[in-house]
Structure formats: C-alpha cells, structure tokens
C-alpha cells in the first residue's frame, strides 16, 4: 500500500499538481491579506466571476484561456478600483454587478462557442491534475511575482490599506498602489484558477487570513502565517484528495477549500476565547466615585494567582470578586 502511495506521488502529473498547489497556496493569501485589511474580502470572488468571461473568450477564440483570463480579470479588477475610488456607488454593489455580469457573460460566450460545459467546468472548479508542464510554469512565474511584490512592498501596501489619507500625506501614490493591489489580486485569481477553480478562488485568498488572525496580533505575523496556512491547505488538500480518490471521486479544489475552512474552525474557538479574555482584562476607566464603601472584614486575601480576575485601574489593581471590584487599601479593601 505504501509503495503505491509513493508511486502515486512520484507520478509526473501529481508532481506538477503539487508544485502548482504549493505556489498557489503561497500567492493567494499574500495578496488576500491586503484585501481583508481593506475590508474587501469578496473582491477575489468578484474578479473570479469576471475571469469566467475571460476563460470563455479564450475558449471561443482559440487563444489560451489562461492568458485571456489574466487580461479580462485585470480589466475587471481595475474597473472595481476605479468605481470604488469615484465613490458614486457602494463598493459591495459594484462587486455584485461584476459578479453577475462576469458569470452571465462567460456562460453565454461558452454557449456561443458550442463548447462542452465540461471544458468550462475545469476552470470553474479547478482541474489541477490535468495541468500541463507549461501551465505549471506559468502558474509558478505569476505566483512568484505576486509573492515578491506582496512581501517586498509590504510597508507601502500596509500603509495604503490601513489608512489611505495618511498614506497620501506621507507622499505615497495611493492610486498606483490601489491599482497594484487590484492587478495582483487578478493575477492570483488566475493563478489559483487551475487549482481550486474560479468559483472557489476567494476562499484560498481569504480563509487562511481569517484563520491566522484568530491567533495573531501583528500584521507581519498574520501575513506569514496566512501564507503558511495557504500552503498547508492547498498541498494538504491535494494530497488528501489524491489518497481518498482510491475509494471515491474526490475533487482536489473543494478538498483544498474544505481543509482551509477546517483550519479556521479549529482556531476560531481560540480566537473567541482570546478576545473574551482580553475584554475582561481591559483596564477599568480611570477615576472612582467619591465616597466608596470599605470592606472591613474580607475573609479572602487578594494577590497574584489568587484566582480572581485582576484588572488594572489607574495606579493599582482591582480584583473582580463575585461581581464586585475590590481594591487593596492598607489593611482593608475598597469597593471600586
């Protein structure tokens, strides 16, 4: 049995698929982090839908669907950015318009070309195991560009996404960076198209970021962790689907996405617990009511590790005891 697994994973098509998955897993969260930071988590989905038209255009004209998808996705992404900047329409409404326009256009064009829908399906839901050597090379090259720019320009992209007004006053060409993020998002959508498919692309861009930030509090760590989780999900999901495919037909694309979501479900309770603990330990607002009550006879002695929640309050510590706030004061406790 082990020998046959080794055989499976050493076969050329599987090796190509693993390479493509590795690079996709790195690139998608690298740009997805900036989309989440801008609260544009669904932008990858919008671009993915537009790219459907690009793929159909390629199938119709006989050009390479990958490259027509890249071009149309970039045009769509820049369109989203321009409309967003003009600010005349709600950001999410623009995305909705592009979702439906892109998907309808793609299906219509595929019908016109008389192509079997199975061909389009390869792009909608991914077909990583049918990737040719040149497909994989293109994927690797584009993914490398996305990662290099996303990590190399991270100080600028971070500032532009965090606080656009401040970034402009710091002398950044805000529009250029916004378009850059849009173009990179479009490129990584087409990169991930072969792996998880256009309809699931956004998951690989956003879910690892959502997972990472349950555990992190710094941007840098979030970005790095998201990329690691992206690789874990895409390579792990592909391997898992290959192993399971011996029993039943298990498609790699959905397996990758479900694995990414499983990681999120694992970390989410930890995130909830951390947020709760932080909220409870937040310092009490400063000042205290005049004429607070004394508790002369308090049987318990508060201190480090006494088991009661210790919350900073101005220059001392209040201990939360049975819904009360006890502040040590000489020999007794004050009720704060």
């Amino acid at each position: 049995m082990t020998a046959s697994y080794a055989e499976l994973f050493s076969s050329p098509f599987m090796q190509r698929a693993l390479l493509a998955a590795l690079f996709t897993g790195l690139a998608a969260p690298a740009i997805g982090t900036y989309l989440v930071q801008r609260r544009l988590s669904l932008m990858g989905d919008g671009i993915g839908h537009v790219a459907v038209t690009g793929v159909a255009l390629g199938l119709l004209t006989g050009l390479s669907p990958t490259w027509t998808a890249v071009v149309v996705a970039i045009l769509g992404a820049v369109a989203i950015e321009v409309i967003r900047e003009r600010g005349t329409t709600n950001g999410d409404l623009v995305l909705a318009l592009l979702f439906y326009g892109g998907l309808a256009g793609g299906v219509l064009l595929t019908g016109l070309g008389g192509q079997a829908t199975t061909r389009l399906q390869q792009f909608l839901f991914g077909s990583i195991t049918t990737a040719s050597a040149s497909d994989v090379l293109v994927t690797m090259a584009l993914a490398t560009i996305v990662v290099l720019v996303g990590v190399g320009l991270s100080p600028q992209l971070f500032a532009a996404s965090q606080d656009p007004d401040f970034a402009r006053v710091a002398g950044l060409r805000l529009r250029a960076y916004n378009v850059l993020v849009a173009v990179l998002a479009a490129v990584s959508v087409t990169v991930a198209m072969r792996t998880v498919g256009l309809l699931l692309v956004s998951a690989l861009m956003v879910v690892p970021v959502a997972t990472a930030q349950q555990l992190t509090r710094s941007f840098r760590v979030t970005l790095t962790a998201a990329m690691a989780l992206g690789v874990l999900a895409s390579v792990g999901g592909l391997a898992l689907s290959a192993v399971l495919s011996r029993q039943a037909t298990v498609a790699p694309g959905p397996t990758i996405v479900l694995l990414a979501l499983a990681c999120f479900l694992l970390t989410w309770p930890i995130g909830v617990w951390r947020r709760r603990r932080r909220r409870r330990a937040e310092p009490f607002p400063s000042g205290s009511p005049s004429g607070h009550a004394h508790i002369e006879s308090h049987p318990h002695r508060h201190g480090r590790d006494c088991g009661h929640l210790a919350v900073p309050h101005d220059d001392h510590v209040d201990y939360v005891h049975d819904g009360h706030r006890h502040a040590p004061h000489g020999e007794h406790y004050d009720e704060h």
Binding site: R38, P155, Q156, R168, V169, T216, T222
Partner: protein
C-alpha cells in the same frame, strides 16, 4: 530651513463635489506656533485642514508649504498628519509598533529595510506618547485615547517640522484628553509647529498661541486664544457649542423654536 513660513494660505477656497465648503480663508502659520482651528460641526474646519495637507485641492487662492507652492510640494517628510481616529484599526490585526513604523514611509526608499535611524525615530515617537510598553500590543486592543496617541506617534516617527491634527480629542474621555494635552505640550516645548482642529478644546486650551474660528466656511476670528475657551479648561463636561463669544450677543433667540417656526438664525437673514 528655519525662517520659512510652514503654511501660507491666501484667499483659499475649497469645493467638494462642486459645493463650495470653504471660502476666502487667509491663514498663515509661523514656525513654532500652536494654532487651533475651532468651529462647530459643518463649519469647514476639517475640510480646511485636509486641504492644507493636500487631501483636497483648492478651488481658488494659493497655498505654499515651507515656501513651495502646494502643487509642487514633495518634501512630505516635513509634514506630519494625524487624521481623525477611524484609521487606527483595519480588517487585519496590526501592532502599535507596526502602525507607528508606517510613519517612516515619507523618509524610506522602496525595498529598503528599516535602518537604525528609522528604528530610533519610531522608539522616540513611542516614548513621547508614553506607549513604548504597549508597542507589541494590537492597536485594536487600545482605548480611543491610546489609539489617538498611536496616530500621533505615527506622524512623529517621520520627524516632521509641522504637525497637523484633525479632531484629536473627539471621543476621548477627559482623563485621556489631559494625557494628550501633556504630550502636545512636550512637543510644543521642543519647538514643533502645530495646527490642531477641534470643536472643543478642553484641556488643550492653555497650549494655543492663536485661535482661528471657522463658521459657515469662513474664518470668522483669527487672533489670541479666546478667554471663553481658556475658561473651559478644567471644567469637566463643559461643552461649548458656540465658540465665538460674539455669537452669543448677536443671537436674539434661544435655540428653541416651535416645530412650525422657521428657525430664525441671525446669519440666515431672511429665511
């Protein structure tokens, strides 16, 4: 270059989406001055200050920053901008240090790692706003007043000559307003030039060298701090909604009108 006027606005007008918001404003800020721009909501004070840092174009008039016409101004590191607090937290967590480090961007070149001077400036800025011990905490863990100080530190990290603050006290409790005032006081002692917009000064009042009062898009008053405002210092909960004392005198009626009355505001003339 000391001696060059940091801000010189002559007959400035700003229109947003074709609507004139600010009209006919002259404003000169000299090196080392602490100027407060006051006014009620909607008076155009934030629009004015955003135009000073280049976020809105002038529809009329001329603006020079450090002697350079604003359209040709590129020395962004001389300018430190503290926007309204909304920008501190975003969709992805970031530490205090990371947000403050963004303040070095005006001095950094592309693809260069942070140098020793950058790190020292970031550390200085954190210490000045008294948040050095919180540097590795997430920004979204901080209180409103602390987030405001993070944004000030971010501006200071670029070692600017002119600091422009937009409503730094909005939504900050009185205790933290006092901490903020102490921070700005230290900066003032260092000789910083500061322009600050607020709709109430509170503990910041004693710091001002000069006050500009905006009303309805025009600068209605430009001169020494108004004694009325100084009086507001230290009186918790004392909200002044009519910053110009003259307004009290010229207003014939209190702000109470029956629903069917046409509010007879003196500035409206015949409504």
């Amino acid at each position: 270059m000391p001696g060059v006027t940091p801000v010189q606005l002559t007959d400035g007008a700003i229109a947003l989406g074709g609507r004139p918001i600010v009209r006919g404003v002259d404003l000169v800020v000299d090196t080392g001055e602490f100027v407060t721009v006051l006014g009620p909501n909607g008076s155009g004070k934030s629009t004015l200050i955003r135009a000073l840092v280049g976020l809105h174009p002038l529809s009329r008039g001329s603006l020079t920053l450090f002697g350079t016409p604003s359209t040709r101004f590129r020395e962004w590191h001389r300018l430190g901008y503290v926007p309204q607090r909304s920008g501190a937290a975003a969709g992805v967590p970031a530490t205090v240090w990371e947000v403050v480090a963004a303040g070095r961007l005006s001095r950094r070149r592309l693809l260069r790692p942070l140098g020793r001077a950058d790190r020292a400036a970031i550390q200085d800025a954190l210490e000045l706003v008294d948040l050095a011990d919180r540097r590795l905490d997430g920004v979204d863990h901080l209180s409103g007043g602390q987030q405001q100080r993070v944004l000030i530190a971010r501006a200071l990290a670029g070692e600017p000559e002119l600091l422009v603050l937009d409503e730094p006290t909005a939504g900050v409790d009185l205790h933290h307003q006092q901490v903020l005032a102490d921070t700005l006081g230290r900066l003032r002692q260092r000789g910083a030039t500061i322009v600050l917009v607020a709709h109430e000064l509170g503990p910041l009042a004693p710091l001002a060298d000069r006050t500009v009062v905006m009303r309805d898009g025009r600068a209605e008053y430009d001169g020494p701090p108004l004694p009325d405002w100084l009086g507001a210092h230290g009186a918790p909960g004392d909200h002044h909604h009519h910053p110009d004392p003259r307004a009290h005198r010229t207003r014939p009626l209190p702000d109470l009108t029956a629903p069917l009355d046409r509010a007879p505001h003196p500035r409206d003339g015949h409504a």
